[in-house]
């Protein structure tokens, strides 16, 4: 599949902002099954300069500052992305979850050690006994990791209600868990917490999802959204496998990966600190357009 993606963010401030500093993680990653031949970002007002580097997780990070009073900031990120079909490995042949857990718990560096970073608590995700109890039901003793993860993916999809009014970006997973409601960020973070509670490595992925219009309707411009899901480490051979509990699917050619990290705080697509703003309103529109 080929997509053109346009992701525009407009921040409007109540009172003029004199200085702001931003980090954007909006460049699609290059992956074995994902290519990004072209990316462009326009920013208004035009920043003095911008700098691109890779963060500790290999995500391209753009840093920019804007100086001079302004009441509106517009960031438009456009890219072309090519995706190859992801072939689902036979889930029952994956290592058992206990093997994975033990590999990540090694006291000396092993193949599983780099994944073990994603077992540890992170700024936004802590586990607790309740989550562990819930997660256990998907992982009986000899359960292959992939099969168990798919089961958990399915259960969270069933047990949760998608509800954009229930939570916001700062909602803690404990609250989302309590309400059993939320958006993709909550679905992903709850599932990550469940996996980590069993000692299994899981990381947070931010990106886009191509949405399909309801049958018989035209697709609306801007109807797509930033999306979030997660990856589970399934051993050295299989590596990291994506799961999308919000839709009860395994991401394939409709999910475009932007960045990954321990939780949302590592991958926030656009994060800024402004000086002098009162309240601000943010408008985000995303279009994921399939190309012929």
């Amino acid at each position: 599949m080929r997509y053109q993606i346009i992701h525009s963010t407009i921040c409007r401030y109540d009172s003029p902002v004199t200085v702001c500093h931003y980090h954007a993680k909006l460049i699609p990653r290059r992956l074995p099954f994902q290519n990004c031949p072209w990316h462009e970002m326009t920013i208004r007002p035009e920043p003095l300069q911008r700098f691109v580097r890779q963060d500790a997780y290999g995500n391209a990070t753009i840093y920019f500052e804007i100086e001079g009073a302004h009441e509106e900031l517009e960031v438009i990120s456009s890219s072309f992305v090519e995706l190859e079909e992801f072939v689902l490995p036979a889930s029952e042949k994956s290592p058992t979850w206990k093997q994975i857990r033990d590999q990540c718990d090694a006291e000396r560096w092993t193949a599983g050690s780099s994944a073990s970073e994603y077992v540890c608590p992170s700024p936004l995700i802590r586990t607790n006994e309740e989550l562990r109890t819930y997660a256990r039901d998907s992982f009986p003793a000899e359960m292959p990791i992939l099969q168990g993860a798919l089961d958990l993916n399915h259960r969270i999809y069933n047990d949760f209600t998608f509800d954009p009014t229930a939570t916001n970006v700062a909602t803690k997973i404990e609250e989302a868990w309590e309400k059993k409601r939320g958006v993709c960020q909550d679905y992903a973070q709850v599932m990550i917490a469940c996996l980590r509670s069993l000692g299994l490595p899981a990381r947070y992925v931010s990106g886009y999802l191509e949405t399909q219009p309801p049958p018989g309707k035209e697709k609306l411009i801007g109807a797509d959204a930033s999306h979030a899901w997660l990856s589970v480490w399934c051993g050295e051979d299989l590596g990291w496998i994506d799961m999308d509990p919000t839709n009860d699917i395994m991401p394939s050619t409709r999910h475009v990966t932007l960045a990954w990290g321990r939780d949302f705080s590592d991958v926030s697509p656009l994060r800024g600190v402004t000086l002098g703003a009162g309240n601000q309103s943010i408008l985000i529109a995303v279009d994921v357009m399939p190309q012929k």
Binding site: D55, E65, E117, C120, D266, R271, T274, G276, Q280
Partner: protein, 842 residues
């Protein structure tokens, strides 16, 4: 000579006996190292001289030493905010009157060990934030690193030529054989250097003779090296380099030390909000615009440094700081991310890391410590938990160590359950009896558990260890948690010189503080803001005290009719400045009024009352502390001490005396402001703040007077008294007060330092000298406004008003105009010069 009294056979070793007839001797517990007395009961050689001097002078001299120490600490205003979040005033710093002496040999061991530790820690940081060889080579468990919140992913792969670390501190204890063991390390912004310097200044003044005779190494050279090092960190191409020290602010537990050290080293002390990143360069916002910073000496925790990349709150963090650092535009010391090594979880792995990275044996081993994230180790610890002290694996100030040996069964069970649930988060450290050092308790020397914090500085080429340290003793006989937070008493540490004593000193025999002259424009806007409010609150405090004193004095009298009317006027004036609720009953009983005055004097919750204003005064003074002279500080400290004394609501004379003292102290403060402060931009804001407040008071009080009065002595007398202008009026008019004459004196007379006109002129003089448009950009409204007010005051013609039928209305309108204009002027001044105070949001 004393040994025979103290041989172990004579004294039961379990309960050290205390012989009041021998206050300078004691018997240490058996099997425990004591700093002063050896296992045979003999005074250790390096203590002999000092000890015999103490003993010869006797107990009476100790009383004198104790008083000297207490007085100096109070004068210097040394505080420690143990409970930093409660907003309570810092508690006074505790310093024991007995120093701890270390021999040249003791010190040389510490010196070698600490030098190695600096090299080791630098190597570990370079490795962890770089190639992570020790991780891949299996020298540390991966989860020990990944679970550590001090491991900052944002600092990964930042290349810093100078290494991430300059100054480290290590807490040491003595094993039974006298060798040193490490208890904990402080690696990001080690506190205690400033306090140890302060301790030294105090004790060297308390024992000038002893200090000299015992040939004690001085500390000054260490601080000079530290200062030189901070300067050498600056990029070479910068000619006029700018080093600043950043602090979280007066609420931080060690703020005293931050301000003290900044002043001592001659670097400006700033807060996060004073700094800004532009084009990846770091700047400090001064009244005259932005000034680039080359070196940031950090007293803010890793996570608080950058609100863009770290978890810092958006108010104190500096967005973009990490980008600036990454780009090599600023040097930061200690580097961001160095807090990683404060985790006690590192201790068990240091010996093998030291072998691997340096090819050396670790010179200062740690107290045996195990990370519970390792299965076998955890099991071993859990099998015999009473032997251990449990600490959070990843250093957490708010969760002190817990000693399992003294716990109840229930507590221990609970602790073990939380360890089992989350073993990675814990370390177990061997529980041991701490070595002891003598402390002066109840008129005698007694052994107390002792911990020594040592400090080392790595420069570009060398490594220096401070010949001294911050000693801490527990006031309990068997304390295991010897931390300042937990109430430990600090100690000065005297290291004996082997050869020549380094005569270099930053503080001379007494006070000769080495300071670097600052460029005149170097006033951060925030400091100016605090000075402005310091001026306003100081003046408001004085005005309020004067009103309350006037009222209290009238209450003491015999209750004549005149007095009662003056009281009514006083109440009216108090309402005018919103001290009293307008609903407050004018016919209130004397006792009710008295209780009300008492509340205004003592209750910190009464907004605008004396206690409230003192709090505001202290906050602003503390925030601008490095700009105020030592004597000014002494004055504030005295004021705060005096006002701490609580007064009964019915002791009118005491209330009056307290108000008298405040009024005099405030007069002394304004005198110091005039005579002892350099009249730069900072001073200007202090001055303008004071003048605005006095001008506002003049407008308000005169407004009230006009409203209630014709030419009534009962109104005008108290007015003149509050404005301290009674004598002036008498000299001018030789008559009983008349309203218009009083107004002339209190509003129009430009020669009366209490008049409104005088305030306007004084402000105008200063406003003209403030940085103008050309250096700040944008238009400055404040200056126009002050000129408008002066024009207005010049136009007032009292003679023609006197005959006007609308006389009262016109006069009232004048006062209202000035109240409103002054308020506006204050707002615009804030907007023009301190606009950074608008909140940041994320």
């Amino acid at each position: 000579m004393q040994q025979q009294f103290l041989s172990q056979g004579m004294i039961p070793s379990q309960a050290p006996a205390l012989d009041k007839s021998l206050p300078f001797l004691y018997s240490p517990a058996a099997g425990t190292w004591d700093e002063m007395i050896d296992q045979h009961g003999a005074i250790r050689p390096h203590w002999k001289k000092f000890h015999s001097m103490l003993q010869n002078d006797g107990v009476q001299s100790m009383d004198i030493h104790e008083r000297t120490v207490a007085r100096l600490l109070r004068d210097h205003g040394v505080t420690y905010n143990a409970y930093q979040d409660t907003g309570a005033a810092g508690r006074p710093w505790n310093l024991d009157v007995i120093p701890v002496l270390l021999s040249a040999n003791d010190f040389s061991e510490i010196e070698k060990g600490m030098q190695q530790r600096v090299r080791l820690f630098r190597a570990i940081l370079a490795d962890i934030y770089g190639p992570q060889r020790i991780l891949h080579d299996g020298l540390i468990p991966p989860r020990m690193l990944f679970a550590n919140p001090g491991y900052l992913r944002a600092a990964k792969d930042i290349e810093v030529e100078s290494g991430l670390m300059s100054t480290i501190a290590t807490d040491l204890i003595r094993a039974e054989d006298g060798s040193w063991l490490a208890l904990a390390d402080r690696t990001q912004m080690p506190s205690g250097l400033g306090y140890s310097l302060e301790n030294r200044i105090v004790l060297s003044q308390a024992y000038p003779r002893e200090f000299k005779n015992c040939r004690i190494q001085r500390l000054a050279a260490f601080f000079e090296r530290e200062r030189d090092h901070f300067r050498e960190l600056a990029p070479a191409y910068r000619r006029q380099l700018n080093v600043v020290m950043v602090t979280p602010g007066p609420q931080h537990r060690s703020y005293f030390e931050h301000a003290f050290k900044a002043r001592y080293l001659g670097f400006p002390l700033v807060e996060g909000a004073d700094l800004t990143v532009r084009d990846r360069r770091l700047y400090v916002k001064t009244l005259e615009g932005l000034r680039q910073v080359d070196v940031l000496v950090r007293r803010m925790e890793d996570h608080s440094c950058d609100s863009l990349e770290l978890e810092a709150d958006s108010w104190s963090g500096i967005p973009g700081l990490l980008e600036s650092w990454r780009a090599g535009k600023v040097s930061i010391t200690n580097g961001i991310g160095s807090g990683l090594l404060e985790a006690p979880a590192w201790l068990p792995f240091l010996p093998s890391i030291c072998q691997s990275l340096l090819g050396e044996d670790l010179l200062i081993p740690a107290v045996p410590t195990w990370w519970c994230g390792q299965k076998n180790e955890c099991e071993m610890v859990m099998n015999d938990p009473r032997k251990w002290v449990f600490k959070r694996a990843f250093y957490d100030t708010d969760r002190p160590a817990q000693s399992a040996s003294s716990m109840t069964e229930g507590d221990l069970k609970q602790l073990l359950a939380s360890i089992q649930a989350d073993p990675e988060q814990w370390v177990a450290q061997q529980s041991r009896t701490l070595s002891t050092a003598p402390m002066w308790v109840d008129g005698a020397l007694q052994p107390r558990p002792f911990v020594l914090r040592t400090f080392a500085l790595g420069t570009m080429r060398d490594c220096f260890v401070m010949p001294g340290g911050l000693g801490r003793v527990s006031p309990e006989k068997a304390g295991f948690l010897v931390t300042i937070n937990a109430g430990a008493i600090s100690k000065d540490v005297w290291v004996q010189a082997d050869g020549e004593v380094d005569q270099k000193t930053l503080l001379g025999g007494h006070q000769e503080v080495l300071r670097i002259a600052r460029p005149p424009g170097d006033v951060p806007s925030r400091i100016a803001d605090h000075l402005f409010w310091l001026g306003r609150y100081a003046e408001r405090l004085e005005q309020t005290s004067r009103v309350l004193r006037m009222l209290s004095q009238r209450l003491t009298g015999e209750g004549s009719e005149d007095q009662m009317r003056e009281i009514a006027v006083g109440l009216r004036l108090a309402k005018e400045i919103k001290l009293l609720d307008t609903a407050f009953d004018n016919n209130a009983q004397i006792l009710t009024i008295q209780e009300e005055i008492h509340a205004l004097l003592e209750d910190p919750k009464r907004e605008g009352g004396i206690a409230d204003l003192l709090g505001r005064l202290r906050f602003n003074a503390a925030s601008a502390r490095d700009r105020l002279s030592d004597d000014t500080w002494r004055l504030f400290n005295r004021l705060m001490d005096e006002t701490l004394v609580k007064i009964s609501p019915y002791a009118l004379p005491d209330m009056i005396a307290k108000l008298d003292r405040i009024i005099l102290d405030m007069a002394a403060f304004s005198g110091m402001q005039l005579e002892n402060m350099v009249q730069g931009h900072g001073w200007r804001f202090l001055e303008i703040g004071r003048r605005i407040e006095r001008g506002m008071a003049s407008a308000s009080f005169n407004h009230a007077a006009i409203e209630i009065s014709t030419d009534d002595d009962a109104v005008l007398g108290p007015m003149l008294e509050i404005f301290d202008s009674t004598m002036t009026y008498r000299r001018h008019h030789f008559a009983r007060p008349k309203l218009l004459l009083v107004l002339d004196l209190l509003i129009l007379n430009a020669a009366n330092p209490r008049s409104l006109h005088y305030q306007l002129e004084a402000m105008h003089r200063q406003v003209k000298l403030l940085p103008d448009e050309s250096s700040l950009g944008g238009e400055l409204k404040a200056r126009e406004e002050i000129e408008g007010m002066i024009a207005a005051v010049n136009k007032i013609d009292l003679k023609s008003i006197e005959n006007n039928a609308r006389k009262t209305t016109i006069l009232l309108e004048f006062c209202e105009y000035f109240s409103a204009q002054l308020e506006k002027f204050s707002d615009h001044l804030t907007e023009d010069y301190f606009s950074h105070t608008t909140r940041r949001s994320r």
